[in-house]
Symmetry: C2
């Protein structure tokens, strides 16, 4: 395929939201599933971005929760993918406003430019079928249609909404046809789902959409003018913050929360659908990961250091170098992370959301964070803790710098185990290389920096009467934190 | 009960053997089940020793694998229990030789002294019934009988040998009678076990025995003179090593390995049995721990930080502060330790031995040790490791001292986080208190000591090209190690 002219390129708008509940304990509120390497060695977000590297696409716009911004940016940077913008939502407002933001940004340069709305947390096994379906949809979208992509159903699924399409149209389901939408239908019950499957002409609503920026904005203006108005203000008041576009907070918070389906697609006369089979899976539960995983002869999907004795049709995953042995079990899910273990009957795995709710009610950190915590400058992990002390491993990215800070209640020992550290301590600046250490007394202003070209790893031993993260007085910060 | 004259006291001989397979991952070869707090806050060994604190008993003789000696000694010391001796077996030779060693030691001072052979890894819920049964047995034993204790069966168990006793004798099973043994019978099949239970007059062979030292030695001399001869030599050649009595290695290694049952009890004309119900359980599997555990309304035994959703009749235990969530499961065992996870159907939990066999074949450390490793001076635990570095937490007991040592390939940083350390480094001796640190360069002779009255905790950061435990040159050691 010849490279298209820039104005013909489709701008993907990738939505990176997510509450981190359905794949707990691997996903957490501050580390939802799209940021995890669930279907390959890369995260679902990076897999999604890779799928969008075809010649028909320009650099994507990412729309994400501001809490996830450093991880999103770092994953894209590491993978080497360009992006047009990373838009920070101060609060989630569902998909119609996010699409409006994407359309407004594209329309700034190319009002008739095509926008592909895509989730960052779905698996699409057949990339070629995906790209073919997008190309098919693009033809209709250029003529003004609002195109959705419908997944040819393979089972009577009751967990998705369906799209009925015009049966007079072609319906080969290979992504080569774009046909009018007849009706959006709600999640059916079992017998209705079976009837849809038998009758044909129904596809699953994938939540992927393709349209011209101006057409979407025109239809949204017609059906939901308040959303367009709020989004225009949020973009007008947006601030550039490092690499990020931070939407105007008051404007966006005042925007009605609605899905694209409900706000536009179910109402417009120009809805079309590309029926397609492309190995799509929205990874709604651990059971879905078992569905799509590579299975051994006994039907098990196994990831990590696992020993099985007479186990069948199970999903066993261990993330922390921890050994797992399972004996005499069928149809279970067993997931081990650095701080938590999930064991569930496979067909009950979606109830993990109840566990997460209970954790949130109890204010347990396991709902929100991993023991590895990501920061703009790198990450840290708590590796040991006891009375009046704790041990962390810090990783500081090349060139990165922590804030200048001071603690009232703890002293810190730092031992460099890899790379080079530049440490400001009081009035002095010291350069430490591997195997050197420094002591930061209570109340001393200090600042840690990695002046080198490789990641700096250091072991921090904290001691003191209070070791909470909130014992910090920041004096200067490169990352806009108070 | 009035305190008996010293020569009337029963000397318990507590056998602390065990291969550490049946309760993996909590038990390990170097940390078998009797050393674990499985039925109370104390280890089974300490629970056993506590049961033997009644006035009828003198201080116990412990017979243990030499690999376990420091843990056995430390657990008894912490619990504050006296012991007569800790005998180290260079190799396991089953129970007849261990009983001979105990009898020989008792006979040195009191040839007619009573010896109670007891396992260190059984639970006995009803201590009063146990002590009553022992008192009953002691009367017969003083007259020369070789007494065994038979557990009144509560189910048609096929996993134990049975003892048929003389039905003409009394058989109240409350530990108040001592009756002649009619026959020792092998583990029965299911229908035979059911017949035994129905017929009455059968009890489980508990492996507890009570006899006069001289009587046991006489009967053993009669039936198995080679065992007596080997054990006499092993005691004659024994060396006192710190607190321990280390049996003559060649002599004991040459001793035939046989059980008391087979060598003596099944052959002697003077076998008697005390039928007793005392809440005895030999904790042969995780299922047994579920059997004896306190259950919630859904029949679950839960230990540690556990969240259950619709789980029934399961045993869930987490030892490492790690959160466990289980959903929709019945009849499972789930055990989490610092480095391993076991998930099993409850009635298949005994197959964990197959897992341990596979681990041993693969030379995996998880078969033998915990991440916490016990040493004569205290313990250490690996808390983090990466390329060219690792972090350990060391706990040094009050007054204890590591060997003077030197490493060719690693430097060490020590940060004291609790207590006081006395450090020899090269020619200098330094005293470090909480929050102070020291650096030990590669090739420098050093020695660590806890001169204080509280345990010393320190964080050790090792760095270097090779970090194996075997990079150590020892110059002086208080614990007889090379």
């Amino acid at each position: 395929m010849a490279k298209s002219a820039a104005s013909d390129l489709i701008t993907p708008v990738v939505l990176s939201g997510g509450s981190g509940t359905r794949l707990w304990p691997m996903s957490r509120t501050l580390f939802p599933k799209q940021l995890l390497p669930l279907a390959s060695a890369d995260s679902l977000l990076v897999d999604t971005a890779r799928r969008l590297q075809a010649p028909q696409f320009g650099p994507p716009i990412l729309v994400c929760n501001q809490e996830h911004r450093f991880i999103v940016a770092e994953q894209l940077r590491e993978a080497g993918f360009e992006r047009r913008a990373i838009v920070l939502e101060p609060i989630g407002r569902n998909t119609a406003p996010a699409a409006a933001i994407g359309a407004l940004l594209v329309a700034q340069t190319t009002p008739e430019g095509l926008v592909l709305m895509a989730a960052s947390d779905a698996v699409i096994a057949d990339t070629a079928a995906f790209q073919r379906a997008v190309a098919t949809g693009a033809e209709a979208a250029r003529k003004g249609a609002l195109v959705t992509f419908g997944i040819t159903p393979t089972r009577p699924e009751t967990g998705y909404g369906y799209i009925r399409f015009d049966a007079r149209g072609k319906k080969r389901g290979n992504g080569a046809d774009c046909v009018p939408v007849a009706e959006f239908v709600e999640k059916p019950d079992q017998s209705t789902a079976e009837a849809y499957l038998k009758r044909g002409g129904y596809v699953w609503n994938s939540g992927m959409f393709l349209f011209r920026a101006d057409r979407y904005l025109a239809e949204l203006e017609r059906f939901r003018p308040a959303i367009v108005a709020a989004c225009r203000r949020a973009v007008a008041e947006a601030e550039t913050d490092l690499d990020f576009l931070r939407l105007g907070q008051a404007a966006f918070a005042g925007c009605p929360a609605e899905s694209i389906d409900y706000a536009v697609m179910e109402k417009t006369a120009d809805a079309m659908v590309v029926p397609v089979s492309m190995g799509w899976n929205d990874i709604g539960s651990w059971g879905a990961l078992w569905d799509i995983g590579d299975k051994d002869a006994a039907g098990n999907v196994v990831i990590g250091d696992v020993l099985l004795e007479d186990v069948r049709n199970s999903y066993v995953r261990t993330e922390d170098g921890k050994l797992v042995a399972a004996i005499g079990l069928d149809d279970i899910v067993l997931v081990i992370t650095d701080d938590a273990v999930l064991a569930a009957r496979r067909d009950r795995a979606q109830d993990v959301k109840r566990v997460v709710e209970r954790l949130k009610l109890a204010n347990r950190p396991e709902a929100d964070v991993h023991t590895t915590v990501y920061r703009p400058w790198g990450s840290y992990q708590s590796v040991d803790a006891g009375a009046r002390f704790q041990v962390k491993r810090l990783v500081v990215n090349p060139g990165a710098k922590l804030s200048a800070q001071m603690h009232h209640h703890r002293a810190e020992h730092w031992v460099v185990v890899h790379g080079t550290a530049k440490v400001l301590r009081g009035e002095d600046t010291v350069l430490l290389s591997e195997n050197q250490s420094i002591y930061i007394p209570i109340g001393t202003v200090h600042r840690l920096e990695n002046p080198g070209k490789v990641p700096l790893h250091l072991i921090e031993v904290q001691s003191g009467s209070y070791l909470g993260e909130d014992d910090i007085v920041r004096f200067q910060d490169d990352y806009g934190r108070g």
